[in-house]
Symmetry: C2
Subunit: 202 residues, 2 copies
C-alpha cells in the first residue's frame, strides 16, 4: 500500500503524506496502543523529531490519519454501492458490507475515525469527512426502507454498531476459527442488513 521511498536524500520530499500513510498502516497493523509518533518516524527511517515539523503534536497527526481513513472509507462504500446495481436494499446491504470490510481490514485505522480524543480537537476536515460519510449512509438506509428517517436512523445505527463490533471482536481474536475470513464477515453484515430490513415491522 504505502510506497517505500526510504531515505537516500537528506530531505524526504513529502514527509507529511508519508507520515499519514505510515501512521495509518501502523494503526491498522498494531492498534492504537502501539501507535506512537516515534514509531511512525522510525518506520520511515527519519528522526523522531522530524514529524513535529509537520504536525504540532501527536493528536494532530492522528486526526490527519483519521481524516484520510474516513475519506477512503467513503470512497469504498461508494464503489460497493455502485457495483450493487439499482435495488435500494441491495445498495444498502452493499454499503454495510463495504463498511465492515473496511473496518475489518483496517482495524484501529478505522476505529480512530470516531476516536473521542480527536473530537476535542475540533478538526474541521475530520468532522466534515465523518459527517459526509454518515449522511451518505443515512440516505442509503432511507432509500432501502422507503423514506422513513426514524427507522432509517435505527437501521444505520445497528449497521454501524455491528461494524464496530466486528472490528472489536476481530482485533480481540474472538474469531479464532478460520472460516471467519474478512469476506465472510462482510457477507454476514450484508445478511444482517437484509434480515433487519425484512424483520422491521411495516
Amino acid at each position: 500500500m504505502t510506497g517505500t521511498p526510504r531515505r537516500d536524500r537528506y530531505h524526504h520530499g513529502d514527509l507529511r503524506t508519508a507520515l499519514v500513510d505510515t501512521g495509518f498502516d501502523l494503526l491498522a497493523e498494531s492498534g492504537l496502543a502501539e501507535f506512537s509518533v516515534a514509531r511512525v518516524a522510525r518506520r520511515l527511517g527519519v528522526s523522531t523529531a522530524a514529524p513535529y515539523r509537520h504536525f504540532p503534536d501527536r493528536d494532530h497527526l492522528l486526526a490527519a490519519v483519521a481524516t484520510r481513513a474516513a475519506t477512503e472509507l467513503a470512497a469504498e462504500v461508494e464503489r460497493a454501492v455502485d457495483a450493487a446495481g439499482s435495488d435500494p436494499v441491495d445498495r444498502f446491504a452493499a454499503s454495510g458490507g463495504a463498511y465492515v470490510r473496511f473496518a475489518a481490514t483496517r482495524g484501529a485505522g478505522f476505529a480512530v475515525i470516531f476516536a473521542v480524543d480527536l473530537r476535542d480537537l475540533r478538526d474541521e476536515a475530520l468532522s466534515a469527512a465523518g459527517r459526509h460519510l454518515m449522511d451518505r449512509l443515512l440516505d442509503l438506509a432511507r432509500e432501502a426502507i422507503g423514506g422513513d428517517t426514524e427507522r432509517a436512523l435505527w437501521l444505520l445505527e445497528q449497521q454501524v454498531a455491528l461494524a464496530h463490533g466486528y472490528v472489536a471482536l476481530l482485533s480481540d481474536g474472538f474469531f479464532a476459527r478460520p472460516h471467519h475470513t474478512i469476506d465472510h464477515l462482510a457477507v454476514q453484515a450484508e445478511r444482517a442488513a437484509r434480515t433487519l430490513i425484512r424483520g422491521l415491522e411495516p
Copy 2:
C-alpha cells in the same frame, strides 16, 4: 461498588481482592489505555510495588479482572433471563439487553474479557468463564429460534458483535445525543434481537 477500606493499618487485609475491584473500576472509567498497575496501586493508597506480591505481572492482574468481569456478566445475563419469563424469544432478547447494558456500563471492563493479550496467558479461570458464558448464550439463542444450532450461532454472533459495537461507539463518543442513554441502548439491542429473529428466513 468497590468498598473503600483505605489504609489505617500497615497491612491492607485483602489487597488481592481490592486490586481486582479497583482495576475493574479503573478500566470501566478510563479504558485500557489508562490502566496501569501503578495507578491501581495509587488509587488504593498502596505502594506501586505492593501489587506484585499478589500478581506476577500486569497481565495476570488484568486476567483476574477479566475473569471477575466474565463471571459478573454471566450473573447479570442470568438475572435478566429469569426476569423475562418463559417465552424463549423474550429470554434471548433479555440476554442481549443485559449483555449490552453490561458492556455499556463497564466499557473496557467488559472488552477486556476477550482481550487477545490475555489469550496467550492461557489462564484457565478466564477461559472457563468465557466458555461458560458463551455456551449459555448459545443455548438461549437456540431455544429462541427452535433448535437450529447453525442459525443460533449466527444470531449469537450478531448479538455479540452488536454489543461490542455499542461499547466501541459509546466510548468513542459517537452517541453524543442525550437520548442515547444506556437503557435506551439496551432496549435497542433487544429490539434488534427480535427484529433479527423475525427477519430470519424460516
